[in-house]
Each structure stands twice: as structure tokens, then as C-alpha cells.
Amino acid sequence: MTNFIKSLKQISLFPLKEEKFIQNIGLISIGVSLVIIVLIMSLFVLFTKQNRQKDLISDGVTLTSMVASYSMNELKKDNANKLLEIVNYTGSKSGLVYSIIMDTNQKIIARTGSNYVDNTLIAKRAASSNNHLKQIYKNSLTNHTIYEFFRPIYKNGKKEGTVRLGFSPDINPLFSDNDIRGILVIATLFFSLVPIFYYLVRRSFSSLGSLNNELSNLIEKNEFRKIEVNPEDGVGKLVERFNLVVSSLKDKCKQMSLSYEDSEVANKVLSYEKDRIESVIDNMADGIMVTDSVGSITLVNRTMINMMKFSKQEVLGKTVNACFDNKEILSFIEKNQFYGSVFSQKNLEIVLKQSGGENIVRISYQPLISHEESVMGSIIVAKDITVQKAAQRNQSDFIAHVSHELRTPLNTIKSYVEMLMDDEVNNRETKIDFFNTINDEADRLARLINNLLNISKIEMGSLMINKDLIKTRDFLEDIFKSVESQAISKNIKIELLLPDKLSSLVMDKDQIRIAILNVLSNAIKYTPEDGSITFRAEEDESFIQIDITDTGYGISEEEIPHIFDKFFRSSDEKVKAHTGNGLGLALCRDIIKLHDGKIDVMSNIGQGTQFTLTLPTEDSPRIKNYSTSYHSLVEK
């Protein structure tokens, strides 16, 4: 719309002003009426002149004939004068300026109007124009045109004299009073017609004026109202049509601008959508590559680019062969492209060497099928499954660990029972020992199952903790006694250091026992023979701090952050030499956290490890917020 108006503005080099137009009409009508008046007057003058000439000629002929009908005798001095006075009177209307009667000797008998006549000239002309009835000459005195009529006076066929009458058409005023009055009436009439005409014209063109106004509005302000059309208006139909044209143009412009705006909006939405989809595709964790029907790459995302050794620009438009240097991937894609659905392998798992190390990538191939069921190209997706694989491996390792751990005591129980059944054990002491072993192994099995159950309960957030008031000293002494024999059998010096008084703890006795036992049995397990373990408790304001210090293998700096991770087992050969499921410390940390406590570890490889368990006492302010912190921990 705006463009259309701009072009209109460029076209309208002439600014239309309605007032000027109407003013011009006024001036034109005045001018036209003036011209008409002048025309009428000139016609009138012409007509009068012609009439006068006719009158003049007929008067001239008539009057000369009348005078010539007299004889010279009758025209004695007085008579001649009287006659001429009559003639003069009659002819004055037609412009008679002089009259002369002469004898044959050119002697003037009588005359009138001598002012206009040069006598000698008259005499001369009379001699030269004897035979002419009329002559026209210019009076040199007055510069008037003179029509002169003359006629000889005969008596019995003999010329006795001549009569001459001189007329001047210029002598009388052109217009009579009546004439002037008539002209004035006509002029007034015409002038009074001017405003009527002006009004009529103005009314006829009033639509044009508003048309002009509306055009100006249209050009300058981009507004157009329908022009009111006077039905009597001369240009009404034209303006009506103009109305129609403009309104239809306006509608079209509106539609165009609307559809233009719509398409603008649609374009913006489209480009926004395109950007969004591109960024979504780019930021996907999986590498994506799309090829067309001839195998050229048409789309590739950032993740895929990162897996290749080329930039996006280098890859687009090339075939897959140019992008991968791994033969396995290439043959996989080629087979899929060549054999299509006949080739049943849709996935390829492969180890890719990348800057960040080795990654396991699963490449899948999917043909792009159009609505007409023809192959338009293919989608190749590369998914980094390193973490998944590691998790899978962890999981299967865990299951293997667990089954081994479960089977080991079961194995012992079964074989020992069988030995007793077969009566292979004769020695009484050995027999008792066998029964004890079976009992211990059954306990070991139960402990392991409990550990597994607890950790899965904590993980699922369904562990019920039953808090009781615990006499800390007794509780710790019990734990110490339960592991003392284990340590002694390994020739490890184990020491319990407790202050005389310890505040009570509010906690789930069984859970905390498991936590402390896990740390303690680790200490025994990973401390070589002849080592020492210290089990110490101290009270500090509202906390009880339990330290378990050993002279074991120690944990390397790199592994310390991971020791509380589930399934984690040290890569240290000395540690690996002992069975373990990587659950003990994970469970311990979870339990301590559930009791608003914390667990810290300090270790030096080859020197030993110290675990510090900090638990809030009964009157600790943190106990009061037990329920909330319990939940927050479970959420964690």
C-alpha cells in the first residue's frame, strides 16, 4: 500500500488546488461574457454602419433627384436656399454635410455647409466628373470621408446647372442614446449571468473538488473517503466510477498488503522455525547426517561434525566416502545404500578414536522414504553409547560380583554340609569347626543380602529408618567386639579409644551399625598383616566424631573422589586381591547422610587411611529438623 502511494506521489507533479480551479472558472466566465459583449457590439456597429451607408446612398440619390427635378428658373436665389435648407434638414440624419447648386459655369447658386467644402476643389471635381453620379473622396480639411452625389439640372433637354450633395458617414455619432441603452441592458444581462454560470459550474465541479481533496488525502495521508456525489452533478458518473475504481484499488491494496503482511509474518515464523529446528538438530546429542538419493550429504549436525575430521562446509554436498576414513563405517553405509532393506544390519557399534579418547559409537542407517514409496535418501545417526556401555558393563560387573559374593558362602555351606553328611569329618573339633563355619557363612550371606536390600531401598527412597535413643559407648563397644576377632586372626593390632562419657545418639541402630561395620571391615580387609587399626570416638559440642584409622594400602588421590560411588572398586592390585562388591562405602555414605551426618576420608598411599564419621548428638539442633533434612536427602 505504501509503495503504491509513493508512486502516486511521484506521478502527481502538479498540485491540484480546488480554490484556484474554481477561481479560474470565475475569471474565464467573466472573460467569456466580455468577449461576447464585444462581439455583439462589433456586430451592432457593423450593422449600423451598413444601414447608414444604405440610408446615405438612398438619401443621396433621392435628394439629388428631388433637387434636379426643379428647373434653374425655379431655383432663383431664395428658392434655391430654401430648398437646400429642406434638403439639409432631411439629409442631416444621413450625414449630409454640404449641398451646392451650380450653373453650367460652375458658379454657385446656393449652398449650405461651407465649412466642410473647399470651393476650388469642388469646382475642379465637378469639371472632371461630369458624367458620374457619385464619388468618394477624402476631405483634406476635416479628414472625413465624403460621399458626394451630384446630378445635372436639365431644362428641355439642355443642361442648366448641377446639384451636389456631400455626405459624411463619420459626422454623426455611431450610437444613439437608444443604442447605448440597449447595449447596457445586454451587458448587464450578461454580467448578471456570470455568477449564475459560475454557480452552475461550481456546482457541477464540486465533486471534482472533493475528488481532488480526497486524492490529496490519499497521496499525503493514505486516507480515502468515498466522495459524496450530487446526482445532478455533471461529472457525477465520472466521480462515481472513480469512487468504484479507488475503492476496488484500495481493497486490492489492502488484500495485497494483508497478504504481504501475512507472508511476512509467515516468513518470519518459517525462518524462526527453521532456526529453531536447525539449532535443535545441531544441539542433539546424537550425530545426524542426511543424504539425498545420489548419496550427497545435504544436512549434518554439529555432533556429527565433531566425530569427523572435516568442517561442515567441507562435508556438505560430498558423498559419505569423503567424510569418514573408517572402513567399517563406510562398508556399513555402502551396503545399506546398495542393498537397501535386504541388508538386515541396521546398526553398527564401533570404537572411534576422538580427541577426548576412545568412544563407542552406534551408527544406524535409515532410508528416507517419500510418500510415493521411493527412496529420497538416507538418515545416518551416530549415537555415542560410551556411557551406556560403561553403565551396562558396570551393571553386569555388579551382577557378576553379587552372584559371586552370594555363591561363595553358599558354596561353603553346601560343601561343608555334604562333608558332614558323608561322615568325612572324624575329628570332633573339626566337626565343631565345620558347624561354626557353616553358621558364619550363613551370617555372611544374610549380611550381603541385607546390604543389597538396603542400598536398593535407599536408592529407591523407600528405606524406613527407625530412630532410637542409643547409648553411644555401649553401641561402639559392641561393634568393636564383633570385628576384633577378625583383626586378630589377621594379626592386626586393633584398638578402641573411647572417652569416659559420650552423649547419646538418636538414630537407627541397625543402619548406623552397618555403616560403621562397613568402614571397619574395609580397614581390616585392606590392612596387611601386622598392621594396626584405631577405632576412636570424640565428642565435640553437638557432634560425635568417630575416627577409623588404619595402616593399610591407602587410596590414591585420583580414586578418593570415587570411593563412595556405587560399584567402584580400586584398580590397586593389592585391593583387587580381596573380594568386594563396591557397595559397602556407598551404603555407608547413604546411611550417614540419612542421619544428617557426614563422612570424610584422608589417605596416603602405602601409609594408611582415616575415615571420619560425624553424627549429630541427641540435643543437636539439626535433630529437630530431622524430617525435612531426611526428605531433602532422599530427594538427592
Binding site: H404, N411, S415, T430, T437, H578
Partner: protein, 137 residues
């Protein structure tokens, strides 16, 4: 070697990281008249094999330091021509293990939990076969 034709070595090496297993199998086999040597892992087992040259080796597969398969491989490579039998104790006999066993040859499996009776039967079977083999030679 000719003296041992009739009186073939009744030495049996048992390798396991679980002391209870060693204890029970040792007792069972000793009661049946075998001479028992025990080792707690593959490395230990390898050493003991070199020293004692047993006719039958009973070993766990999952063990720290060196597992049963590795130990067997090492024994085969370094022990010379003396024939011997191997009994492997495992919780599951999967395909890869079976393929390995077919390739390697002369390996028996006992599934866990181990029955000392079955182990004894198997040891006796191995022993008699070895004696037959030796008699032929």
C-alpha cells in the same frame, strides 16, 4: 618315569581364594588317599605346580592376581610334556568358556556350589585316565 607307570603320582593341586573351599576339598580328597597341595591364587598355583608336578589341578576361575584360565595357559606353556588334567570350578559355564575349553582340551568343569563328592569322582576319573594313558606309553 618307568617306576611311576604303576604308581602314578597321586598329587592334586587345589587353587582357590576361598580358604573354606580349600579346606573341605583337601579333607575330602585326603580321605580318599590323594596327596593335596593348596594355592590361594593363580600365581601361587603356578609356583606350586612347578614345584610339585601334580597329575590333577582343581582351580577356581575367578581369582585375584591371576585367574584359573590364565594359570592353566601358563602351566601348559611352561610345564613340559607331562600330561595332567584340569578341573575348573565355575558358577556358570557360558559359551565362550566352552569354546575355550574345546580349543584347549582336557578340561573338566564343576559347577558351583561345588559338591565334594562330585569333585572326588571327577578326580578319580581323571586319575584313572591318566594312568591308562601312561600305561599305553
Amino acid at each position: 618315569m618307568k617306576e611311576t607307570n604303576t604308581e602314578y603320582s597321586k598329587k592334586v593341586l587345589i587353587v582357590d581364594d576361598e580358604p573354606y573351599v580349600l579346606r573341605v576339598l583337601k579333607l575330602k580328597l585326603e580321605n580318599a588317599g590323594f596327596e593335596i597341595i593348596t594355592a590361594v591364587n593363580g600365581v601361587d598355583g603356578l609356583e606350586k605346580f612347578d614345584q610339585e608336578r601334580p597329575a590333577v589341578v582343581i582351580t577356581d576361575i575367578r581369582m585375584p592376581l591371576m585367574d584359573g584360565q590364565e594359570m592353566y595357559q601358563m602351566i601348559k606353556e611352561h610345564s613340559g610334556a607331562d600330561p595332567f588334567s584340569v578341573i575348573m570350578m565355575t558358577s556358570t559355564i557360558d559359551n565362550s568358556l566352552r569354546i575355550w575349553a574345546d580349543k584347549t582340551g582336557n578340561i573338566h568343569f564343576v559347577e558351583k556350589p561345588v559338591s565334594p563328592r562330585n569333585v572326588l569322582k571327577l578326580v578319580e576319573l581323571c586319575y584313572s585316565r591318566l594312568r591308562d594313558l601312561n600305561a599305553k606309553l
